[in-house]
Symmetry: C2
Subunit: 542 residues, 2 copies
């Protein structure tokens, strides 16, 4: 049997080893003065066998009790399994894995066979004060899956991964929480439907995880965030099972099910999700791409499009000048049309911005809305460059997550941070983050807007910078802290769709106010009086 290493855990998705493409590598080598010699060494490679210092703290009796509930074949207490459920995919977590540090693994990993198993497990753990962390695709980038108090990680993906019902009259699908995106999409595709929710983690995230982390897909501008896509949830909490009806709307006082959208495992275990579904009609989708002269003019066009009430695009995205330049250099956009023409027309590198658009749904609607968008873009001096750049971007949509390993192998820190902000604060926030980041020497910052609303949008920042070798963790932490303040001080939310987890928890009180945090704590205390649900530093809760 092959040795199971830390690297096996830290790798993304299906664990393929990917290479940085030549164009990107060239940019990185230039920006960070990396020599060919440097390329040969692999920084903190993590290819040693996983060994945990901490043994399980569950008693033999407890393990036997848990086996009785879930079946002995569904409980794992070996080192690799526990290590494998110790972290999500946050940059610091990947660093720790590379440094072979797993101080707080779960005591066991359990794969419940059914909703009823989950009920029994939650009851048992609540009685015995054993922490529970519900786990979907492990793609959390907020330290949402760590187990500082040990306990049980619930692997929802092994058995709870089926479509329960597709209702073609209501156009809804009831799905078990542990179903991965592609399996769900494939299932309903065969029936002529699509889920419409495609986050970057789509391939390796679950329906339950989408809800718990309050995610957003690439087409959220048209379809809404997961918040708007679900009509009902079933959740197992220590205070009982919460299940709402699939009414299209209601006024039965205030809704309780939004409490669980973004609850990040702290209130209960989501076992079933009922989602709206759409007709599968990819042939109807229209694509458009534009170059704008400045970020400001691109943002103005975007805002005008969102506030004009002529229908909305589904995918809607602007890259800022830095991201645009790197896209031109690395993604081959400059090969698709004449860079010289663009320059001659005043679309200059360092200022110009790419906009990507798709419009889905009914064929005539997609055509109509695309036409309106083209008109509005033109008014704001957006230069139409056809549908291909958007289509090409979509093709490589899920691949960039694989770049983290080869980049970190090169000693390059790489992470993202994101926020939601109203239009009137957007440019200021973007500028402030840029100013902050560029104080660091040798850094690449790429910013984009990718989820758009009538009253504002998100801002998403991707940064790369050489690690401070030997001081990787602390260097990152300090840099990241400044980033959060740059966002928070400029009226951005702590997150638009990544969530809070343990990473942003320290800012929660400042962000939402003490009164709001107290209310969240009261809700927590009701559903989880013994504090067993994803405990220890989550969401700013006690």
């Amino acid at each position: 049997m092959k040795t199971k290493t830390y690297r096996d855990i830290l790798k993304w998705g299906d664990k393929r080893e990917q290479k940085i493409d030549d164009a990107t590598l060239k940019v990185i080598k230039e920006k960070f003065s990396i020599s060919d010699q440097d390329l040969a060494s692999k920084h903190l490679f993590g290819d040693t066998e996983v060994k945990l210092e901490k043994t399980t703290s569950l008693s033999e009796e407890q393990i036997n009790d848990l086996k009785k509930i879930a079946g002995s074949e569904n409980i794992f207490t070996d080192d690799f399994s526990r290590a494998n459920f110790s972290y999500g995919k946050y940059y610091s977590e990947l660093l720790l894995l590379r440094k072979e540090k797993i101080p707080n693994p779960p005591d066991a990993v359990i794969s419940p066979k059914s909703h009823n198993d989950v009920v029994k497990l939650v009851n048992y753990c609540n009685k015995n004060k054993i922490p529970i962390v519900p786990v979907g695709g492990q793609s959390s980038v907020t330290r949402g899956l760590e187990t500082p108090k040990g306990g049980v990680s619930l692997d929802m993906t092994k058995h709870l991964n089926q479509v329960i019902e597709v209702n073609s009259v209501n156009m809804t699908a009831k799905v078990q929480a542990g179903m991965f995106g592609p399996a769900f999409e494939e299932h309903i595709n065969k029936l002529g439907y699509s889920c419409g929710h495609f986050p970057q983690s789509f391939e390796f995230s679950t329906v339950g995880g989408w809800v718990a982390a309050r995610g957003a897909g690439q087409a959220s501008t048209g379809y809404g965030k997961i918040d708007q896509m679900i009509v009902a949830l079933k959740v197992v909490t220590p205070a009982g099972v919460i299940e709402n009806k699939d009414y299209p709307s209601n006024a039965e006082a205030w809704d309780t099910f939004p409490l669980f959208v973004g609850s990040e495992g702290t209130l209960g275990v989501i076992t079933e999700v009922t989602m709206k579904i759409k007709h599968l009609r990819p042939e109807n989708t229209r694509y458009a791409s534009f170059v704008f002269k400045t970020f400001e003019s691109a943002v103005n066009a975007m805002r005008e499009i969102m506030q004009s009430e002529f229908g909305k695009p589904h995918l809607f995205r602007i890259s800022d000048p830095d991201e645009t330049d790197i896209a031109f250099k690395t993604k081959g956009f400059d090969e698709k049309f004449s860079n010289k023409v663009l320059k001659a027309l005043g679309y200059t590198s360092g200022e110009r911005c790419l906009m990507f658009v798709s419009v889905e749904g009914d064929a005539a609607y997609a055509k109509f809305v695309k036409k309106k968008i083209k008109k509005t873009a033109k008014k704001n001096k957006g230069f139409y460059i056809g549908g291909s750049p958007t289509k090409n971007w979509l093709k490589q949509r899920y691949s960039s997550a694989y770049m983290r390993e080869p980049l970190m192998d090169l000693g390059i820190m790489t992470d993202t941070i994101e926020t939601a902000v109203t239009w009137d604060n957007l440019i200021n926030l973007w500028k402030s983050v840029r100013t902050y980041v560029y104080k660091r020497q040798k850094v690449v910052l790429m910013s984009h807007i990718s989820h758009v609303y009538e009253n504002g949008a998100n801002l998403y920042f991707t940064f790369l910078s050489p690690m401070e070798i030997g001081n990787e963790e602390d260097d990152y932490k300090q840099f990241h802290k400044g980033l959060v303040y740059a966002i928070h001080n400029n009226k951005g939310s702590l997150s638009h769709h990544h969530g809070i987890g343990r990473v942003l928890a320290p800012w929660m009180k400042d962000a939402v106010s003490e009164e709001v945090l107290n209310a969240m704590q009261a809700v927590k205390n009701h559903f989880d009086p013994n504090g067993i649900m994803n405990p220890g530093g989550m969401l700013g809760l006690k």
Copy 2:
């Protein structure tokens, strides 16, 4: 000075005395065998002077303390003021006023001058365990404003009725909660905007009331319910002020502000609401009206339109065959086009259904969506009858609420009940309610759908029937109870947009489950540990 009577309180809106129009009167006379002699008498007219048995239970010291906070000119303890704040506009409440029964008036009516006044009042009342009921336009039809435990009714409309800020970049408006619909709309109309929220109570309801009762406007199919129209709230609770940011979206864990949407005054006093606003472009709106052969075919067309993703109508409404027949008879639709032609084409009375549509927003969009709707209607054998019937319906949109007084004067019980239901249960629910109602002799039932979603719609029932003279209250109560069960047993929600109040509270546990009600109670206990906020039978809470 004119004597102030019970009738002055029970009358709708601006207290005009309205007459039933001749066409409607003719229908009623026929259906209920009412003679001209009967028309002369006025049943339970309520035109005697208001006198309360119960004196205020606030001590002189307490009244002085309250005067110090809000100003002595803003506190009222006279009989008429207290009586005037004893009820909303629910049918049973109107009956009680006609019977001159006000067993539980508030101890005082206070009109706070500012948000800070509200903070001080809530703190004072919390400390002294004095109940508070926040009051907007008093149009509640769910017994949401009664004061079974006395206390203070907060009249939010006198001073807290201003627009605080219109943000034309974000297209949002921050409004004080006590502002009436027309004043708000007029204010933003001048700046080129519209609020898009037009419930039937629009003229006599407030922005804060819309949120607290979780209302829906006539254009909700396009713009959403109030839930979807607000971006931020400021609420004074005994546990502090809760104020969320106006982010377009966020993932700062789960949202707390939806707790107050539908809270019906039980958690705190909403003082400020930030709403999305739209461009004011009435000239762009397109109207369409159709007749369908059956209710089923109209519903099928409606569902297809909502699920086709070609854009949505704003006003979207079907009347069932009975409502359609009465509309033909009373609203003059049969004068607008040839009834004979319709009959010859197979659109027969007793089966045919009217559909009303408007599409707002961008001019080309409105034109485009109307065309698509016409096409879908035609496919489902909908017969296009032009825009005028919809426009005419809109003209009399707010007037029917004035019909309750002259109808009740005639001894006619008249009320409405409404629900939300998924498409797959809609026809069953509609049939079951009809079967139940028509078991009563001498009854008119009119049903319509007026708020439509991808996965379902509301159903709204209006019924008229002669009162059981001498046993008016109990007769109504028994009849109403059966109605609620007919809805609940057929998978309808307890309410789509009227709310729960004290009327539907007894069904809450059955409707939402004990676990959900426990969670609601826990939230209540946090925000309002002394139970001062709108206490006594509200929302099924203790």
